[in-house]
Amino acid sequence: MKIRPPRKVVLESAVAKSPLSETLRKNLPAASFEIVDRVRDVSARSPDLLEVVDFHGRFLKSCPGTRHYNCCGYRILNLGTQCSINCTYCILQVYLNQPNLRLFGNLDGMFRELSDFFDQNRGCLHRIGTGEFTDSLLLDPFTGITRSIVPFFASTPNGVLELKTKTDSVGNLIGLDHGGHTIVAWSLNPEEVQRREEPLSATISERLEAARACSGEGYFLAFHFDPIIDYPRWKSGYAQTLDRLFDTVDPARIVWISLGALRFMPELKTIVKARHPASRIVYGEFIRGLDGKMRYFRDIRAEFYSFIVERIRKVDPGLCVYLCMESDDVWLDSFGFSPGRRGGLSGMLDRAVEQRMGIVPSIASPAEADQPASGCKAC
């Protein structure tokens, strides 16, 4: 996959001399750099522009789950926003006032916040991911952020970092001291869906090759069949991708596989129709879900999940497979149990980390022993 380097970088003056800005200057020799007081919100998207801002919000947030569907209890580490991979279904398209690639330049603030968080919440496991508002590795060849964040997590006893990507930009991960605390994760779909709906992303083969390389470096892996797309040949498409996945990587290295059928805010439909007129994804059989998002009719979702779960079970019955934002009744149809019967979805994922990665948070000091039963103020 060839990532087009940004041709223009606009830096807010407060972060113009930050280590991130210096790295960008070094790694983007052909780009022009401009310093401004403040990057303004705009409505038009400039594909070659990268904005580096001084971020004043919280870097670490809880996964925006809703009460109607089971949430994974994940935390999101926000490093920037937007993405140039341009997937047809990408939710980031609705953020119309900030359409450009944007990075938070004050990474020192982010590491401070992370350190404080881990200091205050030592008693239990924290699964933290960076791929919510952008692709985790899209700009990594230019920013090299993984070279500081992966070793940071290696130094935490109870933190697991998940880098979610549709790229094969894993060059910076090679040779890093990850201490077994980083999961590199890929979103997967059938080749046909990738070509149609994620055309600028790495191909499925490239993603799997990158996964194999990471596995060779001792990283743990995860895969997300999300969004699962309904199309006439979906069964053979997903079966083929699963076969290729298990042919390429050792299932024992996979910590979890998540499944999530396409869902989107209703306003995305108009945007997809206008921006991606050849895409057919918004014409599926959708209903309005309990969280207000459009989702495939539940029987369709349950059919996807049962089919995929069964195939994964045949390969590795012990592999943690979970549904992203689904209700108990869809869990029951697809798995025969609901997360509540297994200690909740969050507990299932924590156990997967414990069993596959061997990370068990332990209460180390007398002060921490005073923490509540869950062992953690944040949980």
Binding site: E285, I287, L290, F297, D333
Partner: protein, 318 residues
């Protein structure tokens, strides 16, 4: 300033056949006719001068009225020979926008003229806001398509038989589908939101079935519904239901199966199992309707063995 004059002009000097500047309203409003009958022509008619003769810029209906009435000459505002026709148009449109109440047919024609004068992407914002038209290339493109669809479309727009949003939706439909949907909307006389629902459904069914919109409108059940002896409300309801079923085949199959199983279950009258909306989520409910306590007791008594039997599970089956 455009060079203009005010003077009397004989009707015989005016070429009433030159309709270059006409914006047809496509509506049969009697307001102007009534006013003319009461008070005659109050404002000067606008004419342009060309080779010693005159063409009409503004006041087509008034001139036709004057001619029918046998008038010889009229007080007119004249754009003199050689004046910039673009300025003439701009002044005419300024005037029209100030007169208020522009129907959708006029709106389409005015946008087409503005696009011709300024270029589709350069229409001044004040014209578009005066027309309540979105200043987006896609919206302008659709208005231009509508303006080019011919008198039947413009009539339907002017009369309100086709609402603005539905018109925008169908603006780029190709001919056979466009003609059929126009006829359909005119026949159904339904509300704006239902029009939009119907045209969106037709489009989406065509996309899902990889066929054309015209083919969807030619489906036997659609034709059968439209030929039924029903009033337009009943036809609209039947068509909406059919289109919903075709658009959402899995959901509609599930609903039908659920209904069948529920009927087969034989719950007493007044008791009903209600699934969650679109079967989403786990919250099912049971509704009981009764008027007196003994009626409720009876429903409970009759329902109990039914609910206890494993026939109930069939109702919940996927």
């Amino acid at each position: 300033m455009t060079e203009v004059d005010l003077c009397h002009v004989g009707l015989s000097q005016i070429d009433l056949g030159d309709c270059t500047f006409e914006l047809r309203s496509f509506s049969d409003s009697n307001r102007l006719a009534d006013s003319l009958a009461r008070a005659g022509i109050l404002d000067p008619v606008w004419l342009g001068e060309k080779s010693g003769k005159f063409f009409v810029v503004d006041g087509f209906k008034r001139l036709r009225w004057a001619k029918d009435k046998g008038s010889d000459c009229l007080f007119c505002r004249i754009f003199k020979e050689g004046c910039d026709l673009r300025r003439v148009w701009v002044e005419k449109l300024e005037k029209r926008l100030c007169e208020g109440e522009i129907n959708l047919a006029e709106k389409a024609q005015i946008i087409a003229v503005l696009a011709e004068l300024f270029g589709p992407g350069e229409i001044p914002g004040f014209f578009l806001s005066g027309l309540k038209a979105a200043n987006r290339p896609e919206a302008i493109r659709k208005w231009l398509l509508l303006a080019g669809k011919g008198p039947r479309m413009l009539e339907a727009l002017a009369s309100g038989e086709v609402c603005e949003r539905a018109a925008m939706e169908i603006s780029d439909w190709d001919d056979p589908g466009f003609d059929s949907v126009l006829a359909l909307l005119r026949a159904l006389k339904c509300s704006a939101s239902i029009q939009v629902e119907i045209v969106e459904r037709i489009s989406e069914i065509a996309i899902r079935q990889e066929s054309s919109r015209a083919a969807v409108l030619e489906l036997a059940p659609v034709r059968e519904i439209l030929s039924r002896e029903m009033n337009h409300r009943e036809k609209t309801a039947a068509l909406r239901q059919y289109l919903a079923e075709v658009r959402n085949p899995r959901l509609s199959l599930r609903r039908k199966r659920f209904q069948r199983e529920l009927e087969a279950l034989g719950l007493p009258l007044g008791a009903r199992v209600v699934p969650p909306e679109a079967f989403e989520g786990g919250e099912w409910s049971m509704q009981l309707s009764f008027t007196r306590p003994e009626e409720l007791r009876k429903i409970f008594r009759l329902a109990e063995p039914v609910v206890a039997s494993n026939r109930l599970d069939k109702v919940f089956e996927k």
